[in-house]
């Protein structure tokens, strides 16, 4: 498996090599790697890369997968057009 050709984050075109480079630089959680590379910030919001990056951290730090600190799961679950949300807005609707 070639690191330079293996894509870990498909939305943001990030190779395994780039992720390993971050880990070697000392970024030690998914959250930190996300912020410096944009891994997990694309349309799928990390559905593909989150666990792959967790695996790399688990390997590098010799810790079990369940001890790798997860990044936040943020809404919405699926991308939603702004117009759909705008049309759902009612003045004072949040008070009901």
């Amino acid at each position: 498996m070639s690191d330079s050709n293996t894509i870990l984050c498909r939305c943001e075109d990030l190779t395994r090599e780039r992720i390993l480079e971050c880990i070697h630089q000392g970024y030690c959680t998914i959250d930190e790697i996300k912020r410096v590379t944009r891994a997990g910030m694309g349309p799928c919001q990390g559905r593909t890369c989150r666990m792959l990056i967790a695996q790399e951290l688990s390997n590098y730090y010799h810790i079990p997968m369940e001890e790798v600190m997860m990044s936040s799961f943020r809404p919405p679950i699926k991308p939603i057009p702004m117009g759909v949300l705008a049309d759902a807005y009612e003045e004072g609707g949040d008070q009901k």
Binding site: P43, P76, G93
Partner: protein
């Protein structure tokens, strides 16, 4: 933490803490430990709108923003950072929706022009030339400054942090401050969940957590926390180059170099430590923004999040030494514009702590202003 004692301990790994560490190290103070509860930028810096603007209404803010922008313009070189900080000076278009606001903008321009800030009034026709997708209904006019823009808060913070580390500063992430030791009216040590370290100076840059930390040494910092939310869309081809912002309707929206749109609206809610995002924000934000920029209706929202403003009574920073614990300084209360003024404020703090002269008087930022009435009033703030 590698040692038991440091000259200086900085609390908070946001841009204010990291920039202060860098500026101190640059002045020869390198025996510094920076502690951060999470990771660098995990608080307000990483959640901010990342705008940089010089179009302020008070001379003090305009001056600080102007000098900060000049540093952002060369931040990579200034700190020796290998990655781009992604500064993009596409300008800020501040739109006026009321006659009163429009009149205030003319006053603000006078302040900006006196400092040499290249902002100008534009009519609705020109506003539309700058942002072709703008719906100018209900607008009176706008002001525009090309040198305003935005930068990547993660990389700006890393730039300062790594620059500081190269000069000898130590950074301890995932380390929480739990208490302080004061001896003879002077700060003596910082207690954390990873152990206690002695310190001669402590700089509290913990944003909304700063008042709570200050209270532990008996310092009263009149800063409250207010939740603000933001969202980001999928990336698309360039549609607009500048930030569009309104004070009256309380919104900001920009397209970042990556292609996605980042935006937010001001809240109407009580102080809280709520970091959760809400569906109410999602709907209202989209309604407000789609009215100003109808072309965005088709864009899909991919993520929303919440952060906290550290609000001071006059919406400007508080920089103060604790009377009961000399050597303990709080630097907070940035009220939502800490990112854009951090380069200059860090210089001011570092100059003060190393006994160097500064063209700004740090005493103006003391919380004593709320007793004397010498407030730092700002007409152009969200």
């Amino acid at each position: 933490m590698k040692k038991k004692a440091y000259d200086v301990v900085i609390i908070g790994g946001g841009i204010v803490g990291c920039a202060t560490a860098f500026e101190l190290a640059k002045r020869g103070v390198t025996d510094v430990l920076l502690v951060e509860k999470g990771f660098l930028t995990s608080g307000a810096t990483g959640r901010c709108g990342a705008g940089i603007r010089q179009q302020w209404g008070s001379e003090l803010n305009a001056q600080i923003a102007l000098e900060s922008t000049q540093i952002f313009e060369n931040l990579e070189e200034y700190t020796g950072y290998q990655h781009s900080c992604e500064l993009h000076q596409g300008g800020y278009l501040l739109v006026a929706y009321t006659e009163k606001e429009w009149a205030q903008f003319q006053e603000n321009l006078k302040v900006q022009h006196a400092l040499g800030i290249d902002a100008r009034a534009v009519d609705l026709k020109e506003a539309k030339e700058i942002v072709p997708i703008l719906n100018t209904d209900g607008m009176f006019g706008a002001t525009f400054c090309q040198k305003d823009g935005h930068a990547n808060p993660f990389h700006c913070t890393q730039a300062y942090a790594q620059g500081a580390q190269r000069m000898g500063v130590e950074i301890a992430t995932y380390t929480t401050v739990t208490g302080f030791q004061v001896k003879g009216g002077h700060i003596a040590a910082v207690e954390t969940d990873k152990g206690t370290v002695e310190a001669r100076l402590v700089i509290n840059c913990a944003n909304v957590r700063a008042p709570g930390l200050a209270k532990m040494v008996g310092q009263d910092v009149p800063v409250t926390s207010e939740r603000h939310q933001a969202l980001v869309t999928e990336p698309v081809a360039p549609l607009m180059d500048c930030m569009v912002m309104s004070f009256v309707r309380s919104y900001y929206v920009q397209q970042v170099p990556h292609g996605s749109f980042v935006m937010g609206i001001g809240p109407q809610e009580e102080p809280s430590f709520n970091f959760q995002s809400s569906w109410q924000f999602l709907e209202k934000n989209c309604a407000v923004i789609c009215e100003a920029l109808p072309a965005l209706r088709k864009l899909r929202v991919v993520r929303q999040w919440a952060g906290q403003y550290d609000l001071s009574p006059d919406r400007n920073p508080v920089i103060d030494e604790a009377e009961q614990a000399k050597g303990f300084y709080s630097v907070c209360g940035f009220s939502g514009h800490g990112f854009m003024v951090s380069p200059r404020v860090a210089i001011l703090v570092a100059n003060h702590l190393t006994g160097q002269e500064d063209s700004l008087d740090i005493r103006r930022f003391s919380a004593k202003r709320y007793e004397t009435g010498e407030l730092l009033l700002e007409p152009a703030v969200v």
